[in-house]
């Protein structure tokens, strides 16, 4: 299975976990409290996020704390980029159409 930032953010629950943990380090239970699903399911998502390099897990006494890996997070911040590029490509074509319409008009 792929383990990169794209895999990490492919799932809506994982995106929410990233948002939560990016604000502050939380232990596993605190993360799980925010979701309407089993602690096991959340653990699995956290494990995937860890394998994708987005989350660091530290043992502190009996608790395991999740914290964000800022460098990887900046890669996630770019998750909008391909969508933006799609619209950029479309709007570049709009520019071309506009240019031609204007030329046509001026030529009349």
């Amino acid at each position: 299975m792929r383990r990169d930032v794209f895999q990490a953010i492919a799932d809506p629950t994982r995106r929410e976990i990233i948002t939560l943990v990016s604000k502050q380090s939380l232990n596993l239970n605190a993360v799980a409290e925010n979701f309407d699903m089993s602690r096991q399911a959340i653990s699995l998502h956290i494990k995937i996020l860890q394998e994708c390099g987005l989350i660091l897990i530290k043992q502190e006494g009996r608790d395991r704390y999740c914290s964000i890996q800022p460098k990887k997070l900046s890669e996630v911040a770019d998750w909008i980029e391909p969508f933006r590029k799609l619209w950029e490509a479309r709007f570049d074509k709009v520019d071309d159409i506009l240019k031609k319409l204007k030329t046509k008009k001026n030529g009349k």
Partner: protein, 168 residues
């Protein structure tokens, strides 16, 4: 030619909306036309690996539209919606539903505003409101998977050929 205008996408974490903002070096009435003419829409909505064809386009309040995106590999997806408000040259409000989802009913409300700027320029803002955060993120992520890597030069060429037949 002036430097390229920037395309901005705002999708704040945790919000079920997104904005697409772009300025154009043309007067509002012309920009509005390019955004509301069936033939011109087909020209710029598609790309090298995806053709867009409108099977219905009724730009008026209460009108509806449906277009089909066909990929190079033959896969095709429909999009449809209803036009709620068609107010040239400043605003269009319509719904949009992507037919390729596993279940129906995931509808987006899109408001497109056309603002006049000094020097005959126009700012277009597309505001999309989704029914859930998951819907919004899914839409944005779909762009990610597409992997838009197209040669603009080749596109421009294609467009030029097409354009002649459109305006003629």
């Amino acid at each position: 030619m002036a430097s390229k205008n920037k395309t901005t996408v705002i999708a704040e974490p945790g919000k079920q909306e997104l904005f697409i903002i772009r300025e154009f070096d043309a007067p509002r009435s012309i920009v509005f036309k390019v955004f509301s003419d069936k033939k011109l829409l087909e020209d710029w909505m598609g790309c090298k690996e995806m053709k867009v064809k409108y099977e219905k386009y009724e730009p008026k309040a209460g009108g509806s539209y449906r277009y089909i995106s066909t990929m190079d590999n033959g896969m095709s997806f429909g999009f449809h919606g209803v036009c709620h408000d068609f107010s040239p040259p400043y605003r269009v409000i319509q719904t949009m539903e992507f037919e390729g989802l596993p279940e129906t009913g995931h509808v987006v409300m899109e408001t497109t505003k056309f603002e006049e700027l000094p020097s005959d320029r126009t700012r277009v803002t597309v505001h999309s409101v989704f029914q859930s955060l998951t819907d919004r993120d899914g839409m944005v992520a779909a762009g990610m998977e597409r992997g838009v890597t197209e040669s603009h030069e080749r596109l421009d060429q294609l467009l030029e050929e097409k354009f002649n037949s459109v305006v003629a």
